[in-house]
Symmetry: C2
Subunit: 315 residues, 2 copies
DNA sequence: TGTCGACATAATTGAACCCTTAAGCAGCAG
DNA sequence: CTGCTGCTTAAGGGTTCAATTATGTCGACA
């Protein structure tokens, strides 16, 4: 399997014919056909077959196409990435659990970025706890915010605590209504589906069965629903302070709350990560960062804003 | 530049030494060193240099590392992707603007998935309008939800209308407060930073300068802030029906609203996309889908929930 | 200053890659 | 049936890759 083979495969699919791909590449037809043949042999799949109008993909070919076109695109990017490294701001990639990403990763990144004078650019994304270790060790991310990570010492990760807070349960002041099946509903953000998250831990301690859990795309939406009386919503206390102060939500006592939680910043070992990563990791333990963690803004000026997610890898 | 070269480069960085990488690969030291040399020559950059303890990355090497480790990971995935295509459910990748992704992409995907009897699996992600065409034509996504796309006929994309609605402006019932600089604040979701989105169009028509716009990570959070009196928030009318009915927000009259908007489903030309994609595209124009678009649930059962984003490409 | 560990650089060989021309096959219009 | 189009296979050659052994070079350290 070669990059050129993959790229001719992609081109054949894109153009719908071997002939067109050959002429586009400025080579003979057999050259293209042979590259295809090599891939077919390698994968043990026809990948593309002659169809009514042009070449059409097999199921396996469809899967390969997604992967292959990404690899080709990345190959092209590699050149420019290295070239543009001269003089370009360094990029720091932060992954966080959905709750942290929603409320604090952005402001923290912006604060660090502006404090560095613009030589560092921070972007953040969402990942499940179990994926963070892999992302860090594969250098797909520079810094992870969430639970501590030390399951596998050979990965060489180092976690430092950056925050202590309290997880509470919220509900509408009038009390929540029962769900359609007569049971209470629990309203959580996506971290509720992450078995290693604090939210999941809380739900387990309370003995909540998963059939009574509704997952919202973000924490704010879950609170919104809770304020409307749809059920109980777990929350990090200070993040919902405004909603509580305004009387939209109130704290409900449960046997498991308030539950103490801790957030950590994790990187690969300091000696093996970039200076910027070390610097941000250090910044996160300073009072300035602590202040942002405790009272983050609820909005981010658009000039600094970068959507947390750009292109997803589905394959 | 070869995949094996890239993978040895990644290994050298990961292990911190040429020697260790050589022994891990079961080859001689020069073999590794030579692969490194080829990359160095190709990119015109040292990539890794001998440092105090182990090999350390140059700026360019850092950039390459991110790209390279993805390519290596994808190469590994390619094999299993093709193999697992036999008998595995087909995957449909939907990209949508942030507003649509937040409220309707999930329910639509789930509805189609269950209607197909589980042979199709739908996952959704967020993208800017300008990126959707490229994502579709590069087959990084199968279906895009948002504005129509026909800028470049050679890409072979086809859009069909699926929804008509009204964009309105919301504010707290008591009227919003002025911002710290004495001006009104406009509270938007990330699509406010997408120059081709309906939200941006509305802001332009109203002559709102970007300094008065605050971008929130999602639409619900923006409405939350608006309900607290932080400013004006654009919204697709029916999506905010609940908040309006509960009296948390009210519709504000402006010269540009209500503004008629249209959402489209875009795919590559029917004859060149998979049957599942065609089928979903057709489903989106049925009354059942229309009903979901008009009154989507606010939460998704966790069994069906898949986080919209998995791993981001930063490079 | 000499030595040692570790990386870089020859010089070489076998294999793989990539292209070419020539020929073989399927499907389809007339 | 014939001819045409378009994909595939076969055979051959130039180029690059990947691995080896041997040798050079750089930095740390006593």
């Amino acid at each position: 399997m070669t990059l050129t083979q993959l790229s001719t495969f992609v081109l054949v699919v894109r153009l719908g014919s071997v002939k067109a791909a050959a002429s586009a590449l400025g080579v003979s037809e057999p050259a293209v056909s042979q590259a295809l043949g090599a891939l077919r042999h390698h994968f043990g799949d026809q990948l593309v077959v002659r169809g009514r109008d042009g070449m059409t993909l097999t199921a396996g070919g469809g899967r390969l196409l997604g992967v292959a076109s990404q690899m080709v695109a990345l190959a092209g990017e590699a050149e420019s990435a290295v070239q543009s490294a001269k003089g370009a701001p360094e990029r720091l990639r932060v992954v966080a659990s959905s709750t942290i990403a929603e409320f604090v990763a952005g402001p923290l990144g912006d604060a660090f970025s502006s404090r560095s004078g613009g030589v560092v650019e921070v972007s953040s994304g969402v990942a499940a706890t179990g994926e963070m270790e892999a992302l860090l060790s594969q250098r797909l991310a520079d810094l992870a915010l969430g639970p501590p990570m030390d399951s596998d010492p050979s990965l060489g990760l180092a976690s430092t605590p950056i925050f202590r807070g309290r997880l509470v349960v919220l509900a509408a002041p009038g009390g929540p209504a029962r769900g359609p099946d007569g049971l209470w509903q629990w309203l959580v953000d996506p971290s509720g589906t992450d078995p290693d998250s604090d939210t999941s831990l809380l739900l387990r301690r309370l003995g909540v069965s998963s059939s009574r859990v509704r997952v919202f795309p973000n924490q704010t939406a879950a609170w919104e629903a809770a304020a409307g009386g749809a059920g109980f919503a777990p929350a990090v206390a200070h993040l919902a302070a405004r909603q509580i102060r305004r009387g939209e939500l109130r704290v409900v006592d449960t046997p498991a709350t308030p539950m103490e939680i801790r957030w950590y910043a994790t990187t690969v070992r300091p000696e093996r990560c970039s200076a910027a990563t070390r610097s941000m990791s250090h910044f996160l333990s300073t009072p300035g960062a602590m202040q942002l963690l405790r009272a983050p803004g609820t909005g981010i000026p658009p000039s600094r804003f970068r959507p947390p997610v750009y292109v997803t890898i589905w394959s």
